[in-house]
Symmetry: none
Subunit: 225 residues, 2 copies
DNA sequence: GATGTTGTTAACGTTTGGTTAACGTAATTT
DNA sequence: AAATTACGTTAACCAAACGTTAACAACATC
């Protein structure tokens, strides 16, 4: 999932890139409307989402959107702007924008709005799938896909795997995981989690590059070579 | 194109109704979350857009959205609220909202946002007949036609099937369906719904490409190959 | 009143997923 | 080295969830 970002404020551009990359998106950052349009034109089918700052020198976000919409009516466009003028907002929507977010905004809200737009844009694949070794893991559906097979995970399996995946290459604290998934960290819940770790090891064992490592006395770590 | 509006401020409710009606929409105005949910449940296939005020007595907009999303993952939901708290905004999106607009807002912006969302969601107007595998299903008449046969469905059969068809390929929450069709999710209503699921499986079994799948502990999903 | 229709509930069963037991190995502490 | 704690693995157990068929109750129609 690749996002084209046009933002002339380098701090915000960097922040956006870092944040969205951490959330699993590939980001192409451009710092002017001209560059954005050029990037788009170089590979128009590459981008699944476009984030446009309105106030940019030379070619502003509106001009870019107008140009893009001439040849692409589908790729979602979300405008970012410091200006809160109502006429501008309406203009953005008229140009075919999907949303319009006023600075300053919470990064989490931006992400929520991106998700909402993608949810209705790609109803067939409502949730992003995470690449996990040879598997494609869908947290929402609780499915693990590989070649021609799809394995459905149980609720507990999915909860535990999603926690490990979200903290890939980092140790997930044993007691914390127990409290988060089982509600408290009693002895038997701990044994239950060990059972589920074994289940996940068995399922993921089809791909030898995936390992769930125990860090003694601390917790578990999901690693992929 | 019918919009369900829930707004307890009668001035704003009237304004919304007048404005949207003038823009060509049919509006069902409700003044409480409870009434909104009841209106929705009475004819779930009627509405193509839902406008929910967040702050309403008894059942707030969030609670309404939560209940609706159990049995309808697609119909667009836009929240209106006087509160601009960020946590609330994120909560709205997590519940499956498509947009979130803070009062006071320009009516024209509301309309633009509705259009932007509808542009993406291809709203399904209730039609005379829906193609369902080898069957032609008429929700209004409660009939299933196939080759030279027409089967008449009972009220409960029709309510359940229309809910499954509306959410084809999506899981319909068991408890949500029970509350929507039977009024509450007690044990015996659950057993009754299981009986009706069996009835529908028997009726639809004439076409082997149609399956009603149980997702354990969650609900049912209608799938067609 | 007899009959038909629809919805509810009973009865018996299967499936599912989570918990716990049991036996063991690995790591740390004494 | 021995004892203790932490974790690995497999399977038994159990209750909840659900599938199916039929009996029963309530209501409508003739």
């Amino acid at each position: 999932m690749k996002i084209l970002v046009a933002e002339d404020d380098s701090n915000l551009g960097l922040l956006l890139t870092t944040f969205l990359t951490a959330k699993g998106y590939e980001v192409k950052l451009t710092t002017s409307g001209t560059d954005a349009l050029e990037s788009y034109r170089n590979s128009p089918t590459d981008f699944q989402f476009i984030l446009l700052d309105v106030m940019m020198p030379q070619k502003d976000g509106f001009a870019v959107a107008k140009e893009i919409r001439l040849i692409d009516k589908k790729t979602p466009i979300l405008f970012l702007t410091a200006k809160s003028m109502e006429a501008d907002r309406l203009k953005g929507f008229e140009l075919g924008a999907d949303d319009y977010l006023t600075k300053p905004f919470l990064m989490e809200e931006l992400l929520a709005r991106i998700h909402a737009i993608l949810r209705r844009t790609n109803p067939v694949e409502p949730s992003a799938e995470i690449s996990l070794g040879e598997f494609d893991y869908n947290i929402s559906l609780g499915t693990l896909k590989r070649t021609h097979q799809t394995q459905k995970l149980t609720t507990k399996e999915n909860a535990l795997l999603s926690l490990l995946v979200k903290n890939q290459n980092e140790v997930v604290d044993r007691q914390g995981a127990l409290r988060a998934i089982w509600g408290d960290d009693s002895y038997f819940n701990g044994r239950s989690m060990d059972v589920y770790i074994a289940k996940l090891r068995k399922i993921l064992g089809e791909d030898p590059s995936i390992k769930i490592i125990n860090v003694h006395g601390i917790g578990f770590k999901l690693m992929i070579k």
